[in-house]
């Protein structure tokens, strides 16, 4: 199964795939950031693979000097009952990632959540604003340099 997916991907996107990993029965493919739109569209529309359901979209902060963030897409194929994970690496200097909301409308809030928690901008997103924290909050909570207890003064309490 892994070979079949990789074969079909390699027909078009041989240069975009950076690495492939299989761990505990799950296939993870790291793709170049600019190619994520075409790769996802190919995986979704391909008649054999049909990864038509985006189950999860999240970010990870690895806190390393190069390629600090990663955005992870967990896809599921309803036809074949199979999962795949696509990852892209985002460097801190260029936090713009093409959005996949045109392909899956369900990515809307998931991308907003990633923006809220990490500060990664999704280009082409219809309505990119914070979802969990209040609008005027200035920081991105899930980054590793944000303390667990928060920064004093960043959130206001009503008067007693």
């Amino acid at each position: 199964m892994k070979e079949k997916i990789l074969d079909r991907l390699n027909t078009q996107f041989k240069d975009s795939i950076e690495s492939v990993n299989e761990y505990r029965g799950e296939l993870t493919i790291v793709v170049r950031k600019s190619e994520i739109g075409p790769v996802c569209r190919f995986l979704c529309d391909d008649t054999e693979l049909r990864f038509d359901s985006l189950r999860d979209l999240s970010g990870t902060d690895y806190y390393r000097p190069h390629d600090r963030f990663e955005v992870v897409y967990n896809l599921y194929s309803l036809k074949n009952s199979r999962r795949i994970r696509i990852k892209i690496r985002v460097d801190e200097s260029d936090l713009h990632v093409p959005s996949v909301t045109s392909l899956w409308p369900g990515a809307n809030w998931l991308e907003r959540e990633t923006y809220d928690m990490f500060g990664i901008h999704f280009d082409g997103h219809p309505d990119l604003r914070r979802i969990y924290m209040p609008e005027e909050f200035e920081y991105h909570p899930l980054r590793k340099d944000f303390p667990l207890m928060g920064i004093p003064g960043s959130l206001t309490l009503p008067r007693k």
């Binding site: 799950e26 189950r55 990870t60 967990n74 899956w104 809030w109 959540e113 909570p141």
Partner: protein
């Protein structure tokens, strides 16, 4: 309704005389102000076409439809909904950041509070993900026990759903009946786990306690009398003209849209997609158990109602089979470096004491890697994505919560409906804000 109000002075100085001869004396200034305001309003009000202007209604975070703190901003054209925007974040407790600071065992009580209507199911989901990451094999007895717990949790969650949805639509009796049944399930949890509600029953490598005979007798008694009570509540609703009129054709979403929005669970099954993780990607021992997956094609509130009621009946079937098939044996895996030992042995034996100390303080240290594991929760697919760097606590833990993704599809479902449909549709989506807001 637009009211043109000409700018008039509404306060008067003492000694002043107004246009209509009133005096601005202090003694009767209050009465004159009121009179003047009334006269201003009366003489200068115009009625435009009342349907020309739209109104924005805020169904605020605190509202009696007990679905938690969901804020819904609805743009209305008369009584028809033009657009709706849900606003989340009122219960954002920072679960994912907390997870990065705790060992895997310490995080299990936090998972209870995610979908707080079915706490045992969340425990099972989290522990399955961690065991997949760590490569632990759990004995068969524990797997059957986990199936029983997860299905009981699904029953409890659907009972609250039934009660609150019926109450929102108008039938308050069903709420009290639902809570009566749920109290019986909570008694079972009390005997089985020790806690009524937020149970924290599963452990990495097995369960905290074994299934005692008393508990299994209690479950059997409950299962014997539950189907008739459910049928009683069902007959109250299913033949009710008011209920059917309020629910039929309301909140429709097409099959392609449902897949595109990433809906899972009863919402997807009511839209005609036969997808259930228990059957398509069997985890635990579901491949050994016989059950049907209800699928309806209408994709409205009534279809979702039927799907969930049918699911409750299937859950009863699954628990009965699991109770018969459960094998004797140990309930925890035999891996002393990663599975917590029994407490009484910790106080007596040296090895167990050391292992307990190491596991509690330093964690289980799974290998470096990442894993995503999902189960079929009562709301949909509940998944955990865990990234581990080889330490005792996760580097990143992402909770894929079904309510969060299901709530995204609320605006297209509400468009074109009436205000009173909002409650019915929210009831059918059954969001739990503890999991949607993480």
């Amino acid at each position: 309704m637009k009211m043109d109000r000409a700018p008039t002075k509404t306060t008067m100085e003492p000694g002043e005389h107004g246009e209509h001869g009133e005096r601005g004396d202090r003694a009767d200034r209050g009465k004159l102000k009121i009179l003047q305001a009334l006269e201003d309003q009366d003489t200068s009000v115009t009625f435009d076409d009342p349907l020309e202007h739209e109104m924005v209604l805020n169904m605020g975070p605190q509202h009696p439809a007990t679905h938690g703190v969901l804020r819904l901003l609805v743009r209305l054209d008369g009584e028809t909904i033009v657009a709706a925007v849900p606003d989340l974040g009122y219960l954002h407790r920072g679960y994912e950041k907390i997870a990065e600071n705790m060992t895997y065992h310490e995080y299990i009580p936090h998972t209870d509070r995610l979908d707080y209507l079915s706490p045992l199911a969340n425990n099972v989901a989290y522990v399955l993900a961690v065991e997949k990451l760590a490569g632990l094999e759990v004995p068969l007895r524990a797997q059957y026990l986990r199936v029983i717990c997860a299905e009981l949790a699904r029953l409890a969650s659907h009972l609250v759903w039934l009660g609150t949805m019926a109450m929102d639509v108008g039938a308050v009796t069903v709420l009290l009946w639902g809570f009566r049944e749920r109290e019986k399930i909570q008694d079972i949890w009390d005997i089985l786990t020790g806690v009524r509600f937020t149970t924290t029953f599963t452990r990495i490598g097995g369960m905290a306690n074994d299934l005692s005979d008393e508990a299994s007798a209690m479950i059997r008694n409950f299962l014997d009398q539950f189907p008739e009570n459910l049928a009683q509540a069902e007959t109250l609703l299913v033949r009710n003209r008011i209920f059917i009129d309020r629910c039929e054709g309301v909140g429709y979403i097409s099959r392609e849209d449902a897949i595109g929005w990433g809906l899972t669970g009863p919402l997807l099954r009511a839209a005609g997609v036969a997808h259930d993780l228990r059957r398509d990607e069997p985890y635990l021992v579901y491949h050994d158990l016989e059950f049907d997956v209800p699928v309806y094609n209408d994709s409205d509130v009534l279809a979702r109602f039927y799907v969930r009621v049918q699911e409750m009946k299937e859950s009863v079937r699954i628990i009965r089979q699991a109770l018969e098939k459960i094998p004797p044996g140990p309930v925890n895996a035999a891996d002393p470096k990663r599975v917590l030992p029994r407490k009484e042995r910790t106080y007596g034996k040296m090895e167990e004491l050391i292992h307990d100390f190491m596991i509690v303080n330093f964690g289980i240290n799974p290998p470096i890697g990442e894993v995503y594991n999902a189960i079929e929760g009562s709301k949909g697919e509940l998944g955990f994505y865990i990234v581990s760097h080889g330490e005792g606590f996760p580097w990143r833990l992402k909770i894929r919560s079904p309510s969060f993704v299901n709530l995204q599809a609320l605006p297209p479902m509400l468009k074109g409906g009436m205000i009173s449909d909002v409650v019915a549709v929210i009831g059918s989506v059954d969001p739990v804000m503890g999991e949607a807001d993480k």
